[in-house]
């Protein structure tokens, strides 16, 4: 059962809802080790994305994801704008011209997006960034599909890996971004970027798989 254009829209809407719901939480996490704007900035950006989605004519998934990326780039600011913008732009390039995505095409698009984030931000796993949630999520979805798991199971494992990666940022000392200036003082705080990345993968598991199993 391939992933449809409207399911991708549902995923984006679910992510926007999760960001709005956790706006204060994300900003609180950011105020501990950053500059206290992650929830505010992401929420502003995702609201702009929703307005674009509502106005959008039906086209392919690549086009949809690129629209999301460009909107985030021009509305979020800070580091989150270019990083999340790049994630969606690269996913859009990977999904260009496709009206629906197979399981493997989803995994490939996600991998391309995450690779773009790594190139843009130059962060490695363990630097206490969104990469700590995203890289395990890509690996989990790929290995689940390789083992022959259904999409809903692969998405569930992907979200779980992101959650574990997010939690694993707590003891880390930041080596990228504004938190890195705190040195040892950045330990014992969960990274806000990894947290919003988990919300993104959890939204995927909730929307892309839910319909898939309903229709079965």
């Amino acid at each position: 059962m391939p992933i449809s254009d409207s399911q991708i829209s549902d995923w984006i809407r679910a992510f926007a809802a999760a960001v709005a719901e956790n706006k204060k939480y994300l900003t609180e996490l950011d105020s501990a080790i950053g500059d206290a704007d992650h929830g505010i900035n992401m929420s502003r950006g995702m609201q702009a994305v929703l307005a674009k989605l509502d106005a959008r004519q039906a086209a392919d998934i690549g086009d949809l994801l690129k629209t999301v990326g460009m909107t985030l780039v021009s509305t979020v600011g800070g580091a989150g704008g270019p990083l999340y913008g790049t994630l969606f732009l690269q996913m859009g390039t990977s999904a260009a011209g496709k009206p629906e995505l197979s399981d493997d095409e989803w995994a490939a698009a996600l991998a391309a997006g995450v690779a773009g984030v790594q190139r843009r931000g130059k962060a490695e796993p363990g630097d206490k960034t969104m990469i700590d949630a995203l890289v395990p999520a890509v690996e989990a979805v790929k290995s689940a599909l390789a083992e022959g798991s259904a999409l809903d199971e692969a998405l569930r494992r992907s979200a779980e890996a992101a959650r574990e990666g997010m939690t694993a940022t707590i003891p880390l000392v930041a080596r990228k971004g504004r938190a890195s200036y705190l040195g040892e003082r950045s330990a014992n705080h969960q990274d806000p970027g990894a947290t919003s990345s988990w919300l993104l993968l959890q939204a995927a598991a909730d929307t892309l798989a839910a319909k898939d199993s309903q229709q079965r």
């Binding site: 704007d37 979020v76 600011g77 704008g81 270019p82 843009r120 504004r178 200036y181 040195g183």
Partner: protein, 333 residues
């Protein structure tokens, strides 16, 4: 929070409208996206200079748009990086056919957004170079962090590169000069009080009545250490010693000494600080042959100061002395 504003959400927009109205002879303000651009841009055959960053540091950068300095500035939300669409619009507006230099302060958000903007501009066949300023010696473990922050040297780089661009030097030359200024400039700041971001409404950090933060960043980022209040001459020692040791500045060096207010410190205190800095430098055989004293790179209403020293040679001195005509810096024009 006591501030002379209307709605906190409108501070950047209304500030820009004020700049447009007050300085229409020198700049025009584009909206959607927000860019402050030289009134006569693009200047044909001249390298265009674009900078930008979060708002709240005025006059940097918008106050430095004009003849002999920047061609455009991109203001973000308060303390938040501007976005690539602003930087692209600015780059296109100032491209006079000789390429565009992006002067970027080293903060993760600013660097990433300017990188994306440079990619977009190159897609549109505009030649772009970027130089990242990272002069804050307060950041010690720069190998294990996002690196040193860009602070006071940015103002000096914008002035000196602006003068070089007016002489119709090439993009490669102006970019090289910007790197030279960054390599020879060092800064450190301190705070007596916190700033208050309008949208947040409360102080960014807490500081006791008898405390000061040494090594503060221009967004209220923590510095090297928190200490008990001390006389100005001791504060100068605390800031200038790591600056001088870092480059290092040596006996016989001629420097530009820049004593900056973080926004809330009055000019008379800056002169008290400069008087102590002058003696500090004299004791080391360092000669301040040029000075800049005042609020030029601020952190909203924060009380405190920063010191920047730039080692000068004949080339940099001549470019510093060249005419400049901007809302925030003006001489010889």
């Amino acid at each position: 929070m006591k501030k002379l504003i209307n709605d906190p959400a409108d501070v950047v927009k209304e500030g820009l409208q004020g700049i447009a109205a007050a300085h229409a002879d020198r700049v025009r303000v584009m909206t959607d996206p927000n860019v402050i651009v030289r009134a006569d841009a693009p200047v044909q055959g001249k390298v265009g200079l674009v900078s930008g960053g979060g708002s709240g540091h005025e006059p940097m950068h918008g106050g430095f748009v004009g003849m002999g300095m920047l061609d455009a500035a991109c203001p973000g939300e308060v303390f938040t990086s501007p976005t690539p669409d602003q930087m692209l619009a600015a780059t296109k507006a100032v491209d006079g056919g000789a390429g565009v230099l992006h002067i970027v302060k080293n903060y993760t958000g600013d660097v990433l957004n300017f990188e994306m903007a440079a990619d977009l501009a190159r897609d549109e066949k505009i030649e772009v170079e970027a130089v990242v300023i990272d002069d804050d010696v307060a950041v010690q473990d720069s190998l294990y962090t996002a690196g040193r922050r860009g602070v006071g040297t940015t103002v000096l780089a914008e002035k000196i590169c602006g003068a070089a661009a007016e002489q119709r030097r090439s993009l490669a030359e102006v970019a090289g000069l910007c790197r030279k200024v960054n390599a020879n400039g060092r800064s450190m700041g301190m705070a007596l009080t916190s700033c208050i971001v309008p949208a947040a409404g409360n102080p960014t950090f807490e500081l006791g009545p008898a405390e000061m933060e040494i090594g503060i960043g221009i967004h209220g980022e923590p510095g090297r250490e928190r200490r008990q209040m001390a006389p100005a001459r001791e504060v100068v020692e605390m800031l200038a010693t790591p600056i001088v040791e870092d480059l290092p500045f040596r006996s016989g060096d001629r420097v530009l000494a820049f004593v900056n207010s973080m926004g809330g410190t009055p000019l008379i205190e800056l002169y008290v600080l400069y008087n102590d800095l002058r003696k500090f430098l004299a004791a080391r055989g360092i000669e301040p042959v040029r000075t800049l004293i005042g609020p030029y790179i601020t952190s909203l209403e924060m009380q405190g100061c920063s010191i920047t020293l730039l080692k000068l040679d004949e080339e940099l001195t001549a470019l510093w002395d060249a005419p400049v005509d901007t809302p925030g810096l003006r001489w010889g024009a």
